[in-house]
């Protein structure tokens, strides 16, 4: 094919480039810039090389926050994904029940993060909250329930909040995946005498792989970046028990104004998220592929 002499069509890409530059590249580069300097004040900065990275990588508080983060995100995935699949499987396939279920499921997704925090703080309060008062009146707990009273209570509240908030997303994605399976698959399974479990294992689950990949990635990233919920609930406490990576990062950056270490931390954080997304994506893309020799 003949090459165009005039390549001015490239100018049409400029607006996108400008938007991406201002929304992502320039801020990211600013962070890179901070991460290699010690800033004493405006116009007074010293280049320090990789010092902040070394400091952050050996910071035990960061290590603790990172472990907490892994455990939290891992638990969230382990509960939300199977629960979402179960809800999607149990949803009606036609009639008015479909709309009713979809609207009900969408409600938690439409509520702003900080409002969710407030809702759950009130819900679990030991003096007026339905859950707090309810569980304490059973008298089963040695220490009365109060999300600030014990790390485990704070975690339970946080997990409940997160699962309540985001399982509907997983369920909606799975439901869409299930609805996309052609009827012939179910008919063939009936003819082949497949059990309900076999239908799930060999038809529904493989056909949901695409939506499950998206669900796992979204939930992993989102729960790994969780901030508003622990901030609203206990601000990272009691103690440091709910100080996740973002909470610690914000304390460092805007609390102590350690911009250099915070910038280095941000970059490490960013790379961890990216790395795990890549691993999940590859794993889910390749699961059940390739040749099998039996």
């Amino acid at each position: 094919m003949e090459k165009w002499a005039d390549n001015r069509a490239w100018y049409l890409v400029l607006p996108v480039f400008v938007v991406v530059a201002f929304s992502a590249i320039i801020p990211l580069m600013t962070v890179v810039n901070y991460s290699v300097q010690d800033i004493f004040g405006p116009g007074n900065a010293v280049f320090v090389g990789t010092e902040w990275f070394k400091q952050m990588l050996t910071d035990y508080r960061l290590h603790d926050a990172l472990w907490r983060q892994f455990i939290f995100s891992g638990l969230v995935l382990l509960i939300e994904i199977p629960l979402g699949i179960l809800i999607a499987l149990a949803m009606p396939k036609k009639g008015w029940g479909v709309s009713a279920c979809l609207v009900t499921l969408a409600i938690p997704l439409l509520i702003p993060w900080n409002v969710i925090g407030t809702i759950w703080i009130i819900f679990t309060r030991p003096d007026i909250g339905l859950f707090g008062v309810g569980i304490n009146s059973l008298g089963l707990l040695d220490v009365p329930f109060d999300h600030t009273a014990r790390p485990s209570y704070a975690w339970i509240t946080l997990m409940a909040m997160e699962i309540w908030h985001w399982t509907p997303l997983v369920a909606l994605l799975c439901y869409a995946g299930l609805r996309a399976i052609p009827e012939a698959y179910y008919q063939a399974a009936k003819i082949d005498g497949a059990s309900a479990w076999a239908v799930f294992r060999y038809i529904q689950l493989p056909k949901m792989r695409g939506v499950l990949t998206i669900a796992v990635l979204l939930r992993w990233m989102d729960s790994f970046l969780i901030y508003a919920e622990p901030f609203a609930l206990t601000g990272g406490g009691p103690g440091n028990s709910t100080t996740f990576l973002s909470i610690y990062l914000v304390k460092l950056a805007t609390g102590q104004f350690d911009l250099g270490p915070a910038a280095a931390f941000s970059l490490i954080y960013f790379l961890i998220v990216l790395l795990f997304c890549f691993i999940f994506y590859q794993a889910l893309l390749n699961v059940g592929k390739g040749e099998k020799i039996s």
Binding site: A184, Q187, A188, D192, S195, P206
Partner: protein, 361 residues
């Protein structure tokens, strides 16, 4: 294997059907003999797939009974009927190997390992799938996938019947022919009852011993391919079978002959007699291949104006007008074709008479 019988089956997809047009299947009584090869033929939307799903139990009919060897199975789900069905598009268990796909219907029914391996190997051999047995089913080509679907339908040797729902739609033409041969061979070897749905008459006529022609939810004729071709019981059969279909000309009777717009066409005496007895709206029908085309006038020749000529390779199709009625005639290769005016010969033994769309003689 079993003899399958429909006793006054009717089915509507909506609740409370009233008018006949509400029914996808209108009152059907039919028998599929054990070990027969049947084709269900008809245009799209005529109820072929509905009928097949009623046989397999995927669909519970609104009315009537389905009998397998005289036993009422109407209320039984497909898995209890021991039936196999192959669908229009390949249905595969993507995460399984080809072997596991073929073994799946056996595994679900608790066959032992040795029998399963033996059956799967036999079926794979018939369908040329042996080299692919250990591969993942998902990565194969469309026709290999459909062969796996066919294989799952054939893997159980004790099934009441194997039902095929336009199984060769997604297959390349040259492989289509090959697979059709295979199915025919399998039928001859195993003597399974096979019911094959298609809208392709060539497929139906080559596969089946008996063709069931459906039209608007009704069976219009059941018969051998020859019977459907030679003696179409309904105008639709004449029109649908054959390429091009039968010619139909509105006519009146005059003694032993039919009159079409003032032109006299001789009929066989018994045909004319039955036509006179039947009454109603009469039409004369003749296959294009039974018309003789002549370039000069002769005794009893029907004069027509030549409109078009299509070369079909081994023969030509001549389109001609008889006072505004279009007639198609088949001219064998090597015969001279008249340019403007032609005379057609209607052999009385091949000229059929239809009263109110049904064959009378």
């Amino acid at each position: 294997m079993a003899r399958i019988e429909f006793d006054q089956i009717a089915h509507a997809y909506y609740p409370n059907p009233k008018a006949p047009s509400d029914f996808a299947l209108k009152e059907i009584n039919a028998v599929w003999e054990d070990g027969g090869a049947y084709a269900l033929l008809g245009p799209s939307g005529c109820g072929k797939t509905t009928l097949l799903n009623v046989i397999s139990g995927l669909l519970k009919p609104s009315r009537g009974r389905v009998l397998y060897d005289g036993t009422d199975v109407t209320a039984l789900p497909p898995e209890k009927r021991n039936i196999a069905q192959v669908f229009q598009f390949p249905v595969l268990y993507d995460t399984m190997s080809v072997f596991d796909n073929l073994a799946f219907p056996l595994k679900n029914r608790g066959f032992n390992r040795a029998d399963t391996i033996q059956r799967v190997k036999e079926v794979a051999e018939i369908l040329d799938l042996t080299p692919d047995l250990n591969k993942k089913a998902a990565g194969l080509s469309a026709d290999a996938k459909q062969k796996i679907s066919l294989g799952r339908g054939l893997v159980r040797s004790d099934v009441a019947a194997v039902l095929f729902d336009e199984p060769l739609t997604v297959i390349d033409p040259h492989l289509k022919w090959h697979l059709r041969r295979k199915l025919k061979e399998i039928h001859e070897q195993l003597r399974l009852t096979m019911i094959y749905v298609t809208h392709d008459q060539v497929e139906a006529l080559t596969f089946a011993d008996q063709v069931i022609l459906m039209y608007e939810g009704e069976i219009v004729q059941i018969g051998t391919p020859e019977a459907l071709f030679e003696n179409p019981q309904h105008k639709f059969v004449g029109y649908f079978i054959g390429s091009p279909g039968m010619n139909f000309l509105p006519c009146t009777l005059e003694g032993q002959a039919a009159r079409v717009d003032g032109v006299t066409i001789d009929l066989a005496p018994e045909t004319a007699a039955r036509g006179a007895a039947a009454g109603g709206v009469l039409e004369l029908g003749i296959r294009p291949m039974h018309l003789e085309v002549h370039g000069a006038a002769f005794e009893g020749g029907v004069p027509v104006t030549v409109k078009a000529l299509e070369d079909q390779g081994s023969f030509k199709i001549l389109t001609a007008a008889l006072n505004g009625h279009m007639i198609r005639a088949r001219v064998p290769e090597g015969r001279p074709v008249p340019q403007h005016k032609a005379w057609l010969k209607f052999p009385p033994s091949r000229t059929k008479l239809f009263a109110d769309e049904r064959l009378v003689g």
